[in-house]
């Protein structure tokens, strides 16, 4: 019986909307963020570059204010509950910033791997941009990995995962994911059913 690990993207998978546009709407810079976000989801801009640009647009905001906006974001409740119920084998894998999303992870009882930064002299300074593939690769040393995501920056994780699930519950998944995925769930309850079936089998 092999170990089966489940990794989940955050924005647009566990949450019912992309978080960066939500933050932008609260604090301004909406239009630039919306454009950057949709181009990133579509894979027109590389995630790393896009993330650096988005952080520079929003980095002057005190991190706990941003964290509070994220805490209010609507979530896919059933899916988050599934992750909580399987927390021993589940990890949230997000390129989003620790200063912004760690309170959300803590409030929802989830562990996660994130990008990292510090708030210094009134600005966020990025110290690490998460490469999702490294998390999947590390888990694969111990067993098999199921990865659930929706954006183009999940592509490297999809390539490495033993079973890659594209989630269409919030928006149409990035085209690249349709070429890499093993399956696609149209909505939350279907996704939870698939995850439970894989978990029950303990293999993909």
């Amino acid at each position: 019986m092999t170990n089966l690990f489940f990794h989940f993207d955050l924005d647009g998978t566990l949450t019912r909307e992309e978080l960066l546009p939500r933050i932008a709407r609260e604090f301004g810079a909406s239009r630039e963020i919306e454009t950057l976000t949709s181009k990133t989801i579509a894979g027109e801009i590389d995630f790393e570059e896009s993330f650096i640009r988005r952080v520079s647009l929003l980095g002057h905001i005190p991190p706990d204010e941003v964290a509070n906006v994220i805490l209010e974001a609507p979530v896919n409740e059933r899916l988050v509950q599934w992750v909580r119920d399987h927390s021993a084998v589940s990890t949230v894998v997000t390129g989003n910033l620790n200063l912004w999303v760690q309170p959300w992870l803590d409030a929802n009882g989830l562990t996660g791997a994130t990008s990292e930064g510090v708030f210094r002299d009134g600005r966020v300074v990025l110290t690490k941009i998460l490469a999702k593939g490294t998390i999947v690769a590390a888990s694969k040393l111990e067993g098999q990995v199921v990865f659930v995501g929706d954006g183009a920056n999940d592509a490297e994780a999809f390539e490495l995962a033993d079973y890659a699930i594209a989630f269409a519950g919030v928006h149409r998944p990035a085209e690249i994911l349709l070429e890499l995925a093993d399956c696609l769930a149209m909505e939350e309850s279907g996704l939870c059913r698939i995850l439970s079936q894989l978990s029950y089998q303990q293999q993909v």
Binding site: A168, R172, L178, E179, L184, A185, M186, G190, I194, Q197
Partner: protein, 217 residues
């Protein structure tokens, strides 16, 4: 009591004889795609999986427009594998129990679907030979079971592309056509079925007539 089963709709192939840029399951007959017509037979509690490959984006778009709560499994090797391979790829996410294989390029009557929904055992849908390239089905003397499937040995009957079989049988499928993978499990009960298959452009008009007869009858 209604049979508990899940449904696999293989729709990954190119359908080269049609010359379309999209899977045959998305062909519209009287305003509705073959895929939509399949989905209308099943309620929200039935697990339905579509296997997509060729132009899978078009299948995603169709399901999003229908707001269908079903899943897609991908067969990215659709150029080199057959429907059996597609079915096998769906199995990891299918629940235990029986699986109804419903090929994506078919139209199936309500009455035939009802027979499959209510039968208590494995079943292969068969009917009089009509196709250009049939999979001939040979029946036993009482015409209750299919004892042989062949593309070369002729018979008065052909297999429809409809099969209700245990999930474990699907796990043993190989890379070719479903009928080839079913051969080791014969004999299987025969169910007289009413269907049309779309293989060639001229089949579309026949299909429209077939649908109109049944929808206005």
């Amino acid at each position: 009591m209604q049979n508990t089963f899940s449904v696999v709709i293989p729709a990954a192939g190119i359908g080269s004889r049609m010359g379309l840029g999209f899977p045959k399951a998305l062909i519209k007959i009287n305003g509705k795609s073959l895929l939509q017509r399949h989905l209308e037979h099943f309620g929200d509690n039935t697990t339905v999986v579509v296997v997509a490959g060729y132009n899978s984006g078009a299948v995603v778009d169709e399901l999003m427009s229908l707001r269908a709560k079903i899943s897609i499994v991908f067969n990215h090797d659709f150029l080199t594998t057959g429907t059996a391979s597609s079915v096998k790829r769906a199995i990891p996410i299918m629940p235990e129990g029986m699986v109804l294989i419903l090929e994506g390029d078919l139209l199936v009557s309500q009455e035939t679907m009802r027979k499959f929904l209510w039968t208590r055992k494995s079943a292969l849908g068969i009917g009089p030979v009509r196709s250009e390239m049939p999979v001939y089905a040979h029946l036993d003397s009482v015409e209750r079971n299919v004892i042989r499937l062949s593309q070369t040995d002729r018979s008065a009957w052909e297999w429809s592309g409809l099969a209700l079989i245990p999930r474990e049988v699907c796990r043993s499928f190989d890379e070719g056509h479903v009928f080839q993978s079913l051969v080791p499990f014969l004999p299987l009960p025969a169910v007289l079925s009413d269907w049309r298959e779309i293989d060639f452009p001229e089949d579309v008009e026949t299909a429209l007539d077939w649908v109109m007869e049944r929808e206005t009858g």
